[in-house]
């Protein structure tokens, strides 16, 4: 007799136990500590904080450990935790102009006030496996630091240098943010057309791979608009909050961020003289790839504002913003492994019916 399949709480529990065992791996190997992840897998931590929309290196390290190194799963853990946190208020806008700079480069000028500060970068490394790391034979390293130090009030390339000649597009500034508060995707549903604040938030939280590919597509001719990296900055900025009861801001701490400002071509229009246009990218932690790609996509999404024709996926707001979130994407893509036998049964019935009808109409073809 047929025994009903019990999906079963026990099966789920055992699967979870097995997962925990696999996560731990061979117990003879020492367990990885979350502070090791935080200190030595910093770029994973950056990505998980950025896409998880939560700046907390300790939690991100925990999420990476719990997710067995699956970064999207780790992002998911962060998001699900973040959503339960109460909102005490919104911080003041961070000022990247006063960043404690770890890295700052410009591709548009050979040298510039403040200088090119390379900082910790993979650029110019030769991608050769370093087998001394396998043997954990690395001597503690210490980089030499210049006696000059970095000028933390260095001018911004787009606002302070290019702007002198009026060659760069002016960004509209909202005069009073209490009347036009910045949008927040995590509190309001995404609706179209979306303003730039919402678009930028969406891109900043969006999947690195998706944003990277879209940015790449603009470089290969789908909404081609050649971009130069005007400036990339990576370092720490102060976060401040101004509670209503007080008339002065309170310093909450510092966060590490990467900012990228691109300079794009623009021919000008009947009303605007020819000038360069902007694309903007910003992420938590150190993630230049994401920040540059985000700036490319931001520029592509400004098509309507620039009076450009929408011809390519990267310019298509609905396409980009609806598909950038990897937690939404991974959930829906993977949900097709859930049982669908009721829907499938309906399709089975239909296909059988259609085949029967066809066999009746064309008995020969069916016999062949």
């Amino acid at each position: 007799m047929y025994v009903a399949v019990k999906g079963g709480e026990r099966a789920i529990e055992n699967a979870h136990k097995l997962l925990a065992e696999k996560r731990r791996g061979n117990p003879d190997i020492p367990e990885i500590k979350t502070d090791q992840i935080r200190e030595q897998l910093t770029l994973s931590v950056s990505r998980v904080m950025a896409e998880g929309s939560l700046y907390d290196p300790d939690l991100a390290s925990l999420a990476i450990k719990q997710a067995r190194g699956d970064l999207i799963e780790a992002v998911f853990l962060m998001r699900a935790y973040r959503t339960t946190l109460p909102r005490f208020g919104y911080s003041l806008p961070i000022d990247t102009g006063t960043m404690q700079i770890s890295r700052r480069i410009s591709a548009t000028y050979k040298d510039l006030p403040g200088g090119q500060v390379l900082g910790p970068t993979f650029d110019y490394t030769h991608r050769l496996l370093d087998f001394t790391l396998t043997a954990n034979g690395e001597e503690p390293l210490e980089a030499e630091s210049s006696s000059e130090g970095v000028d933390n009030t260095m001018p911004r390339v787009l606002d302070d240098l290019l702007n002198h000649e009026g060659l760069i597009q002016q960004e509209e500034r909202v005069s009073d943010e209490s009347h036009e508060p910045v949008g927040d995707l995590t509190r309001q549903p995404l609706e179209f057309p979306a303003d730039r604040d919402i678009r930028l938030q969406n891109l900043s939280r969006g999947d690195e791979g998706f944003i990277l590919s879209l940015g790449y597509s603009t470089q290969r001719g789908y909404a081609r608009n050649h971009a130069f990296v005007g400036e990339i900055r990576y370092g720490s900025v102060d976060v401040e909050i101004a509670p209503e009861e007080l008339d002065f801001p309170i310093h909450l701490g510092e966060i590490d961020i990467t900012e990228c400002e691109n300079v794009n071509q623009f021919k000008g229009s009947k009303t605007a003289p020819p000038q360069f246009t902007r694309g903007y990218g910003l992420t938590f932690g150190q993630n230049e790839r994401k920040a540059i790609a985000m700036a490319l996509v931001d520029r592509a999404l400004r098509d309507k504002e620039m009076g450009e024709e929408v011809t390519s996926p990267a310019q298509d707001e609905e396409f980009v913003l609806s598909h950038s979130d990897n937690i939404e994407a991974t959930g829906f893509v993977e949900h097709i492994k859930l049982p669908h036998y009721v829907d499938f049964q309906s399709e089975l019935e239909l296909v059988r019916k259609m085949r029967r009808e066809q066999a009746e109409q064309h008995p020969q073809r069916a016999a062949e």
């Binding site: 007799m1 047929y2 009903a4 399949v5 019990k6 999906g7 079963g8 709480e9 099966a11 789920i12 998911f76 998001r79 699900a80 973040r82 959503t83 339960t84 109460p86 995590t186 509190r187 309001q188 549903p189 995404l190 609706e191 179209f192 057309p193 609905e318 609806s322 937690i327 939404e328 991974t330 959930g331 829906f332 893509v333 993977e334 949900h335 859930l338 049982p339 669908h340 036998y341 009721v342 829907d343 049964q345 309906s346 399709e347 089975l348 019935e349 239909l350 019916k353 259609m354 009808e357």
Partner: protein
């Protein structure tokens, strides 16, 4: 009972904070006021993946109280893994009682089925919805489909159904079969088989639909007219089977096909496991369930 007391002390009753629940309830009220209209809401990340019932879970969390009894089904069954997982989630975060009996439940969260047992006025049926927009596969853009709903411009769907008839001789949609609500909004009933569509019409229970990833909520208040789309010369018909349930012998339920071996042998069983068990408890037996001699049901 202490309202805030749950088994996971760091989370609020039923996981969501009260602010979020209030936001969802406002969306639900609007949805009930405009039957079939998709209300955008600021869906939250839930601790289970998008596409796995986060919309339904948020709606349930917003309407459930500590005294309520919850039933969760997936594909009609209480035993499928995802139903077990969601039921456990509420047992853990809300400490509510759960049941597998349709008649004993105050709230029933479902994926892809409506229970066979008729629902009552004091019950709420919560659907998990993957794609709330019935026009989505005809028009991928949200900006366009919202306009089409506003203008009641549903010609595109009728053309699609007509093309089905022209090509196949009948409408080739078997689940997520679109319906017109209260003579106004076209609605996706979620991927329930069209077999279940008639149960939605004039149902005494409140029906709530939650789409978490797409961030939409919609509703059918009790006794709302639900008309499955059709043509005068091609009226809406539901699936029927030549077989009966192998376990309880039911002839009027939605049957799942169970493959028995690789020789093409199969049997059919009720997709609604609670309904099937109840019938068996009353002594009904199907053709594959004859090891004791109780009431014999018809075997075709």
């Amino acid at each position: 009972m202490n309202y805030q007391q749950t088994e996971i002390p760091d989370y609020n009753f039923a996981y969501l904070d009260e602010q979020t629940k209030r936001m969802i309830r406002r969306a639900l009220l609007k949805a009930v006021a405009i039957p079939g209209y998709q209300v955008p809401f600021a869906g939250r990340e839930m601790p289970m993946p998008y596409g796995w019932g986060t919309g339904g879970v948020q709606v349930t969390a917003a309407v459930i109280g500590p005294e309520d009894t919850l039933k969760v089904i997936d594909q009609g069954s209480d035993d499928t893994t995802n139903a077990v997982s969601i039921r456990k989630f509420f047992a853990r975060t809300a400490g509510v009682e759960t049941t597998e009996k349709t008649a004993d439940a105050d709230i029933i969260q479902t994926r892809h089925r409506i229970p066979e047992h008729p629902l009552r006025e004091d019950q709420i049926l919560v659907y998990q919805v993957p794609i709330p927009e019935p026009l989505r596969f005809l028009e991928p853009r949200e900006t366009e489909t919202r306009k089409m709903h506003a203008l009641e411009e549903y010609g595109l769907m009728h053309v699609k159904l007509y093309e089905d008839i022209a090509r196949h001789g009948h409408i080739a949609t078997t689940y997520a079969y679109p319906a017109l609500i209260n003579d106004r909004y076209m609605m996706d009933p979620s991927p329930i088989p069209k077999f279940d569509n008639p149960k939605m019409d004039m149902m005494p229970a409140l029906q709530l639909f939650g789409a978490g990833r797409e961030k939409r909520i919609y509703a059918l208040p009790p006794y709302t007219k639900v008309k499955s789309l059709d043509f005068e010369d091609h009226p809406f018909v539901i699936q029927s089977w030549e077989d009966v349930c192998g376990l309880c012998g039911a002839k009027d339920t939605f049957l799942d096909e169970v493959i028995l071996d690789d020789q093409g042998n199969r049997m059919f069983v009720c997709s609604d496991s609670d309904h099937c068990n109840e019938r068996q408890a009353k002594g009904h037996r199907g053709p594959q369930n004859r090891d004791d001699s109780l009431t014999e049901e018809v075997a075709l």
